[in-house]
């Protein structure tokens, strides 16, 4: 295996390739796009959460001076589309609204104020339909139907009855027998809250129709090809008539993986023949664009007295809101956590309710599962009188075990992450009163999916790297580092091209921990292809066989006679008149093998017994990164993820009105993300067990850091004051209630779910 010292570029800190543009404010975001004659777009949100649109009167709005066009749902083709597994929605509702905030009309006007004025002149007559807001009530016979025609939707696979959009399952072994054989059975219900992705840059886009009729959209997106496909579907246009230009991305975390609001300015641009810009407000981000919705998790385990977990049952209810904006699929694989459990029954229900639709967020659903599973681990430890660390070590997955999906677990650093945390946290440790320590294990897999790259060699020996991936959290810098390492040239000799969907080859989204891992592998292979072509040309020019040549430091040379050789610059110049023509290396792949990512995290807290408030004193994480492409960027990802997880644990809580499902706190003044003042220094330990695949042995990094904090902190609170809070966030109010003994368990009728499947 390659070791860190063998690298020339990797395992060293590199500032971002776009650092100058970013710090000088020159980097262009979608809202920085100004085109001549550009109009401003504003949206009208639905005031009801389930209602028939009796009429929308846009007359007065359209007549307002400065207004150029007004559109409603019926201006779009009558086509359902989907952003999850099901085609369950219209881009703008035609007859029925399904959540408060759903955009039901859009205006293009000369300026924003006029557009907003026009929006307020639109008159909507609604006829309310019975609605349902709580997913557990939505599953009950007789509940109002969010989608009465559900069974006719394309992609619908089950007839499950009420409001259940999806049911995913995973089973292994003889679960009932294993529970009967177990010495102890531990059962819990956990609930996690609505979470907003909290990216800095609200959705923004500019749509423009070229004279040829081709649609160009400048967008803030993680998935330019996915937006193109979405627009093609809802506008009934071939993808070839659409070009997406991804601008700098001010954060997305999953919220910008798919079509968001781009269709509204697009249709308005088509209607008016003028460019149309839409920049969402923060309130619109909160009320119109899918966040994560609350998750209820029933977990039961059968355990032997020595700590061996022999059986696991997990029923997870994912509230998906009005539409399946993102599937509950990430959740299902995580019901057993990072452990070898031979018998399991796992179920994930996606349940419709009349509130904002569910979206994606940094491994959707896994943080919720990890909170449940890792809190439950500590509960098990407590029940059998075992140290929580020992329990985890005893059950941890090892190489050769079989993952939930059936894939064999390859070599990995899980045990090393556990040991690193034990050492760093000096576990177990006696603490003063009111202080506590808690652990959580996190597991994920390196992201796969279609990836492409092209590298061309310039006259001066530098290279230009072209991929279709939008830069996310410095991924361009990591891709440049991979190319530089593989080509044997310095970072500064790699130019990362700005791209759009016309220019770059198709690629998957920038999300799901896949860019550096999958896209990076494509870059590495394209670089290797480039080197091969350079060697072939050098062999031809130097008159020696290819296998007599070496390639290092931007130069191809004869191994027996190092001074004899050609630099990349010379080869690039020569290539122009060569048989093969200019040098361009390419690579493409469609998927990557299962490569797990493991991390162990630990929190040290102090609990205020009078207010219930938690002070986070220390947070430590150890993650197996395989190889750190750019350690500074890796730590940035780890720290950022943990901070998001700390927000989930302590303060973030997107709340919904129990009657109409409306978002109660659509602002950063009431949706509380942690600030620097709220955080301890986050201590990172990078474990390096190289992946069998992936660029130079690197594993994905991005998602796992966010999973651990809710459970690690909840476990630390238990350690500190002896109460277990099973509901997020761990607010002072909840902790104090638990301390006072008036904390209610979350009701969950697991019998009914088992019965529905015929399990007695």
């Amino acid at each position: 295996m390659t070791t860190a010292t063998q690298f020339k570029v990797l395992e060293q800190n590199h500032p971002r390739v776009d650092a100058y543009e970013k710090v000088t404010g020159r980097a262009a975001y979608a809202s920085d796009v100004y085109l001549p004659g550009m109009l401003a777009c504003k949206l009208l949100p639905s005031a009801r959460n389930h209602a028939r649109i009796v009429s929308i009167d846009t007359g007065e709005a359209a007549a307002l001076p400065g207004v150029r066009a007004v559109i409603t749902g019926t201006d779009f083709p009558d086509i359902r589309f989907g952003s999850g597994a099901l085609r369950d929605r219209y881009v703008m509702p035609r007859e029925v609204v399904n959540f408060v905030g759903e955009p039901i009309a859009a205006v293009a006007a000369d300026d924003e104020a006029t557009a907003q004025e026009a929006i307020e002149l639109i008159k909507v007559e609604y006829e309310d339909i019975p609605s349902v807001v709580n997913p557990l009530s939505a599953m009950v016979e007789g509940a109002a139907s969010v989608h009465p025609e559900l069974e006719s939707y394309e992609g619908y696979g089950f007839t499950l009855g009420h409001n259940v959009s999806t049911l995913l399952d995973a089973d292994r072994g003889d679960v009932e027998q294993a529970f009967r054989d177990a010495d102890v059975v531990v059962e819990d219900v956990y609930r996690s809250q609505g979470i907003n992705q909290g990216f800095l840059e609200p959705m923004a886009c500019v749509a423009d129709v070229e004279p040829s009729g081709r649609l160009v959209v400048y967008a803030s997106t993680q998935g330019p090809y996915q937006i193109r496909a979405g627009l093609a579907a809802v506008l009934e246009m071939p993808v070839s008539r659409i070009r997406i230009v991804p601008m700098e991305l001010g954060g997305g975390f999953g919220a910008k993986l798919r079509l968001a609001f781009e269709a509204f300015p697009a249709l308005l641009a088509m209607r008016t023949g003028r460019p149309v810009k839409l920049v969402n407000t923060r309130e619109e981000v909160f009320t119109m664009n899918g966040p994560r919705l609350p998750v209820t998790n029933y977990v039961r385990s059968g355990v032997m007295n020595d700590g061996t977990i022999v059986a696991r049952e997990a029923y997870t209810i994912f509230d998906v809101g009005a539409y399946l904006g993102a599937g509950p699929n990430s959740g299902i694989g995580h019901g057993i956590g990072a452990y070898r459990i031979p018998n399991f029954r796992l179920r994930s229900y996606g349940v419709y309710t009349n509130k904002i639709y569910v979206g994606s967020y940094r491994a959707s659903g896994v943080a919720d599962m990890t909170f449940a599973v890792e809190s439950h681990m500590d509960h098990i430890a407590q029940q059998i009188g075992m140290d929580p660390y020992d329990l985890r070590l005893h059950n941890a997955l090892r190489e050769g075990d079989v993952s939930v999906s059936g894939a064999v677990v390859p070599s990995n650093g899980l045990i090393e992450t556990l040991e690193a945390i034990k050492e760093k946290m000096e576990w177990p440790r006696q603490l003063e009163d009111g202080h506590g320590l808690g652990l959580a294990l996190c597991e994920w897999r390196s992201g796969s999916g279609p990836s492409t790259a092209a590298i061309s060699v310039n006259d001066d020996g530098t290279v230009s790297l072209l991929t279709g991936s939008t830069d996310i959290s410095g991924s361009d810098t990591s891709l440049a580092a991979i190319a530089a390492e593989a080509l044997g040239i310095p970072m500064g000799s790699v130019i990362v091209a700005k791209r759009d969907t016309d220019m770059a080859p198709y690629t998957g989204q920038s999300g799901g921990s896949r860019v550096v891992y999958s896209q990076g592998t494509a870059v590495q292979r394209a670089a290797e292809d480039t080197v091969q072509k350079l060697m072939a040309l050098a062999a031809e020019r130097l008159g020696v066989p290819e296998d007599a040549l070496g390639c290092e430091d931007g130069r191809v040379y004869v191994m027996d006679n190092e001074p004899q050789g050609l630099t990349f610059a010379q080869l690039a110049a020569a290539s122009i008149t060569s048989r093969g023509g200019p040098i361009i290396g390419t690579a493409a792949l469609s998927s990557m093998p299962y490569t797990p990512v493991f991390a162990t995290q630990a929190a040290e807290v102090k609990v205020d017994r009078d207010t219930g408030q938690i002070k986070l004193l220390r947070y430590v994480q150890a993650q197996d990164v395989g190889v750190a492409i750019n350690p500074m960027a890796v730590e940035g990802q780890l720290d950022g993820g943990v901070v998001q997880g700390i927000g989930r644990a302590l303060t973030e809580d997107q709340q919904f009105d129990p009657d109409n499902g409306a978002v109660r706190n659509p602002s950063f003044a009431s949706y509380l993300m942690p600030l620097a003042i709220d955080l301890p220094e986050i201590e990172d330990v990078l474990i390096r067990v190289p992946a069998e695949d992936g660029p130079f042995g690197a594993r994905a990094v991005a998602e796992p850091p966010g999973f651990g904090p809710p459970a690690a902190i909840a476990n630390a609170v238990y350690d500190a004051v002896g109460v277990r809070v099973k509901q997020l966030p761990l607010s002072g109010e909840r902790v104090l209630a638990a301390l006072n003994g008036d904390y209610d368990e979350i009701p969950f009728d697991v019998e009914a779910l088992r019965l529905a499947e015929g399990i007695i």
Binding site: E283, T611, K615, R664, L672, L675, I677, D678
Partner: protein, 305 residues
Amino acid sequence: MARFDYLEPRSLDEALRMLADGGNSTRLVAGSTDFLVRWRTGVWRPDSVVCMQHVPGLDHITWNPDDGLSIGAMATVQDIEQNGDVRSRYPALVAGATAFAGVQVRNLATVAGNVCNASPAGDTLPALLAYNAQCRIIGTGGERWLPMDEVFVAPGRTALESGEILTEIRLPPPAENTGGLYIKHSPRGAMDISAVGVASVVSLNADGTCASARIALGAVAPTPMRAYGAEGRLVGQIPDAANIAEAGRLAAQSCNPIADVRSGADYRREMVRVLTERTLSHAVATAGNPPSYDDIRRLAVQTAW
């Protein structure tokens, strides 16, 4: 985002005239930190805005032993937080200022604006109440003084008449052997609206009994309020643990909190009890011996004790 005319008077007289001319469709602004939010969300839609930024002579903070502290209408929360006289004599007000928003907002927000905005959760208000502040109010008809506990009428409503301007807030000089603290209860260490805020100011007699005790509560009633019952329990008494606990209980009883996205009502009430005890204990412990700014800041905002 309705359009409005923007007016910049150069004197108080001119400002009063502009307010009188504009009537109810005019809005006076100081730092505009409340104004901009409400304008953008459409809650306030004035035809014209009168900005006091260029009215001279309103941004002072001065102290003298006879009159106490004088805070001009344009003095910012940051000015208060940084002022040496305030730091050494009015620690509860410094605590309210330092717990307020973040530096950027503090640099714009005025204390007078905090008063006139009359949010039950305004962070400087409990301390102003506990220090017995007086408001100097001018109108076209002249000038009047109003004690702080008569200013707040309802959420967002004060006793100021339309067209009146609050020009100065005055805090009497504290008696010898006075201590005070404000604690802001919120899940986050900064940039957060108080779920509960409590200020206590205690003056001790030479024999250790309370000469006066003033306790003011924020975010637990339609307006910031004094906890008179709890105060009465302490005056003339030794402020020992039992008496302080009793005062905490009485303060909790006297408030009338609501449940909202930040907190439930019962929890708020319980926090009033805890914070009343904590602020009182600290006020007693530091009477005549003011804590350092760093201590005040830590106590005002720390999330867990």
